[in-house]
Amino acid sequence: MEHPQEKNGRPRIGFYICHCGSNIASMIDVAEVQQYIAALPGVKVSRDYKYMCSDPGQEMIAQDIREHKLERLVVAACSPNLHEETFRKAAVKGGLNAFYFQMVNIREHAAWVHTDRRSATEKTKDLARAAVYRVHFHKALEKRQVPVSPEVLVVGGGIAGIHAALTLANAGKKVTLVEREATIGGHMAMFDKTFPTLDCAACILTPKMSAVKSHPNITLWTYSEVVQVEGYVGNYKVTVKRKPRYIKEDLCVGCMECIDACVFKEPKFSDKFNQGLGKRKPIYIDFPQATPKVVLIDPQTCIQFKTGKCKKTCVESCDREAIDFAQKEEMRELQVGAIVLATGFKTFDAKREPHYGYGRYPGVFTALEIERLVNASGPTAGEVVGRDGKHPRAVGIIHCVGSRDEKTNKWCSRVCCMYSLKLAHLIQEHSGAEVYNFYIDMRAPGKAYEEFYDKLLAEGVHFVRGRVAEVTDWAMTPEEEGRLVLRVEDTLAGFVRRIPVDMVVLSTGLEPQADAQAVRRCFNIGCGSEGFFQERHPKLAPVNTFTDGIFIAGACQAPKDIPDTVAQAGAAAAEALVLIDSGHVELEPNTSYVVEEECSGCKSCVPLCPYTAISFDGEKKKAMINEVLCKGCGVCVAACPSGSIRQNLFDDDEIFSEIEGVMAK
């Protein structure tokens, strides 16, 4: 419903300022601002209230709109990112178009960041006045509704991606799961046991992996990478690169006879899945339960690729004729409504802490290497032996390598304390060695975590509180001779200790993937300063991003353990479901449009639009904006040399009046 404007052309304005409990009121004199704005021309109602976003607060606004025939609404409260929608709804409730409203951010941008009440109050007056000036030019607008493509893309086939994909697929959605490696499973597939229950990682993961493979709603693309994302919420066009594995995936049944038949009789090449502790052939499969169970050929090591003169015994051995040396990289396109990013983490490079001797002393291992060593399907079939083939008498586990460290990564990686305990238990169990844990603080906050720590204490694992200064082969006593010595200040005992061991395990922390920046650019989302993907709100929107329709799950957002990862993956899947099941998305009406009779057809705007929303009508010789494609950045509006492009919500009049408003006295 529309109200007639006042005779002088000035709309009737209602102004509301929120105390936000004491959040705003403690730093800003809200009563003073309320009185000041009340005196501005056009302002018919001005009120302050304890919690404007509460039901009574919203009701008060709606009531005022009806009673005082308000035509514009200004609310000074928190960031529009938080409550803009709330007050738009309040406006609508009162019978006003939602876009006759303007929000003033005086909490995040004033109350919380200033220390002087006087100047914070003056600033608030300026900002509120600007909004009052601005709403004069507001127009009645409607949100645009755009249909949503019902399919979902999940990127990353670790436990997070697997769980998200299965959840969505079980809800009846078509899902494409894209994984960079040859198999899904991620880091979890490398683990032997999981803390604190010590259940076998493979036993709980592999059923989910095969469920992914066999699910009618899931298309699984491994050995594939997303290279381009275009479009917008509900309508993403995604280009995926499918790398050649030189095996016809639909023909290979994973019998592995080709591997036996390979001209290399013995595995010779470093096995990435086993962290280089094992060997593989040029034709290989990462591990027996790899999903899909399809072999692949590494062209870097395969004789046929290197010389073209191999006997190709593998081809002979495959009666399904699945081997295809001519396979090429393929580009595939997907149309999806939502995307779940679950791209995981990488472990800290232990060589960045040279005083721990990784890469220098053969007795020093990373935790992930030990995961493979203690794994029954690992390179040593679960036997804990050093690179020299000897069984360690004593093992030292150093916590916080690449975590909680000013020089490397400041954050706590959250999982290392717990996995160190797990590894301590497994090493002791598998080898009978004395195990020492060197920790700064023990962090075991989780269901049954602290109890697990207690269990380890009872098992006789040693705990030394102190950050290890160095790992050295410098022996001072015969006992230390030929071993690795950990020098550490035992901060509980209060002196420096030298502890000789035969094997050192570095509990490396979790870091963003090496290409996290490129990935986030591709998907147009943000990263925190440490490089993990940025959630929309740390508490209230932990799986959303600032780009609608793109959700994040698992360790790509921050280090987290398996239970948290699975919970987050479920949450991301649920958010994607909400989007898709609603059938459409509402887009802000902040689109731009060309006023045809004003346009000179100079084409200045045409190349500026990143979404090719602007075209040049060859008949009329004028520019045209396709509203469906326009995302409302306003670049063309600023660039139109004759001022003939307008933008809803951010028109010149609105911005100039805001400038006038902040500067007026």
Binding site: E353, P354, H355, R360, E470, T472, D473, W474, M476
Partner: protein, 286 residues
């Protein structure tokens, strides 16, 4: 290639062998070192703890003298290198301190804008001159000689400007270019005991003994160092070590001396006769 040269007190006194070998090697490489005219004490150790501002001014004077030329400064002594770098950084980060120091300098007709770079000869040799150029001048490689490289505490801490703080490797690269072998020596940045021999001799001596003993144990025929203070301490305390622990007799030499030998410069030119522990082993085969 031309640099300013800040010798500091050691290189004119106890560390003369360092200066002689440094100048000989740089001369052979065609790198010109121009000694800063009228340099003064760098202000190391005691000054800093007594009066910080004054000691910054003292060191700042050397930087001010250097700034008049548009050249990097080479400070071979670890203490000088550290103090001059600390001053450079301190003045850059603390405008108030910089103002005070400049005021003092102006009283002496000097000024300091903050543009000087203080470099270590290891840095200059590897990063400016380059290993290829050095390798090309090696006439008499140190084949079969094994050394322990010892960096001491000051050139990588707290500022690790050209090498790793925990496991520096620059000296290894140079010695390898000279044809020598380096033993794995995890004690390369541990305290030599130098500053304690005067105050807590028992502790100082023990620290020196540990370093020498470990180097010997690992098959080194000498410890190669970059620091005149470490050299003096490790060389000069071996008599006491013999009395208290055991006879060690390990030559302590400068990396420039080894480089010089490999370049075919004579032992006397390189000051190799100046050590208390004779450098016979090092000279074997020449």
């Amino acid at each position: 290639m031309r640099y300013l040269y800040f010798p500091g007190c050691s290189l004119k006194g106890t560390g003369r062998a360092y200066e002689e070998s440094l100048l000989a090697v740089f001369g052979a490489l065609g790198v010109e070192l121009q000694e800063i005219d009228d340099w003064n004490c760098c202000g190391a150790t005691a000054y800093m703890s007594v009066d910080e501002t004054k000691s910054y001014a003292l060191a700042g004077r050397n930087l001010a003298l250097a700034e008049r030329e548009d050249l990097d400064v080479i400070a071979p002594c670890s203490a000088c290198y550290l103090v001059l770098n600390k001053t450079q950084k301190g003045l850059a980060e603390h405008p108030e301190l910089h103002r005070k120091v400049v005021k003092a300098l102006k009283a002496g007709g000097l000024d300091y804008k903050g543009t000087v770079r203080v470099r270590h000869p290891l840095d200059v040799l590897v990063n400016d001159v380059g290993l290829d150029k050095i390798a090309a001048l090696i006439k008499n490689p140190m084949k079969g000689h094994r050394f322990a490289t010892y960096y001491g505490c000051q050139i990588v801490r707290p500022y690790a400007t050209f090498d790793d703080q925990d496991d520096p490797m620059t000296m290894e690269k140079l010695l390898k270019a000279a044809g020598a072998e380096c033993v794995s020596y995890p004690l390369k940045t541990r305290c030599c005991g130098g500053s304690l021999t005067g105050t807590l001799p028992e502790v100082g001596l023990r620290l020196a003994y540990i370093l020498i003993k470990e180097a010997k144990k690992r098959g080194a025929e000498a410890i190669v160092t970059v620091c005149p203070l470490c050299q003096f301490n490790l060389d000069g305390t071996q008599g006491q070590i013999a009395k208290k622990y055991e006879r060690v007799d390990l030559p302590i030499v400068y990396f420039t001396q080894i480089l010089g030998l490999a370049m075919g410069i004579s032992a006397s030119e390189l000051g190799l006769t100046r050590g208390i522990i004779p450098a016979q082993a090092v000279l074997a085969g020449r």
